[in-house]
């Protein structure tokens, strides 16, 4: 993929993650999602959520369930032969997901159940 955009091919995987970030980070400003603003909570989610998926990834790689085009990843590996790109995936996708949830909440005001819901939903108020 990289060669088409005159970009090193090894950045192909992280390039896709860049697409995800570009597609979601603007929500923090335009929809005032306040996810980055609540970074301690975000960091704790990230620190915990990566583990089951890193373990799954390492097992799947060891069994050959999936494998990577080594010319299209960074070439840095974690224990279990998990590419660094995969760890970045397990950080970026939770961030984009939380941004999406909070963006929907910003517009619709629907209850999430985290102790900070805003009372009646817009349109339900007398």
């Amino acid at each position: 993929m990289g060669k088409y955009w005159n970009m090193p091919a090894s950045l192909a995987y992280v390039g896709v993650l860049g697409f995800v970030l570009v597609g979601s980070l603007w929500l923090e400003i335009v929809l005032r999602t306040h996810v980055i603003a609540r970074w301690p909570r975000l960091v704790l989610v990230m620190v915990l959520v990566i583990w089951p998926f890193l373990i799954w990834d390492a097992y799947a790689i060891s069994q050959g369930h999936w494998f990577f085009d080594t010319s299209r990843i960074l070439g840095i590996y974690l224990p279990g032969d998990v590419p660094l790109d995969e760890l970045l995936f397990f950080l970026v996708i939770p961030l984009a997901s939380i941004l999406t949830l909070e963006a929907v909440r910003s517009v619709k005001g629907w209850p999430v159940g985290d102790g900070a819901d805003q009372g009646p939903v817009e349109g339900e108020q007398p």
Partner: protein
């Protein structure tokens, strides 16, 4: 276990955790399903890039469909694939997204960074001249 089997188990375990372990009950909430619909659309695009360009490839013994071809892209639709990616990837993604959102809600309930809450969208305040 195959990728198919692990993916099904992951979805079941995550949904059970949402309902009974964390009691976040996101799968019963409108806000989750609308968010997931948006995420699902973009997931098809990113999955398509990862697999259509062959960045990630799969062993046919581990998935419903057959192995990723050595040359060129796998089928866009069919042979167990949706947007080039194995259907299992959608289950993998669902469990990653649901677990992330469960933890986010859980830590909010525990009082960690509960505020500032989301919103209002920029356009609602710009119009008022704030």
């Amino acid at each position: 276990m195959t990728y198919t089997q692990i993916a099904v188990v992951a979805v079941i375990v995550t949904v059970l955790a949402d309902l009974f372990l964390f009691r976040t009950k996101l799968v019963t909430k409108k806000v989750f399903w609308v968010s997931y619909a948006i995420i699902f659309f973009f997931q098809l695009i990113t999955n398509g890039m990862f697999t259509g360009f062959g960045i990630v490839q799969y062993d046919g013994d581990a998935i419903i469909g057959s192995s990723s071809p050595a040359e060129g892209a796998p089928p866009f639709l069919g042979d167990g694939r949706i947007s080039f990616a194995p259907a299992e990837d959608l289950m993998f993604g669902f469990s990653l997204v649901l677990l992330s959102l469960c933890l986010w809600v859980l830590f909010g309930r525990w009082g960690l960074s509960r505020r500032p809450t989301a919103g209002p969208p920029l356009w609602r305040t710009v119009r008022k001249g704030r």
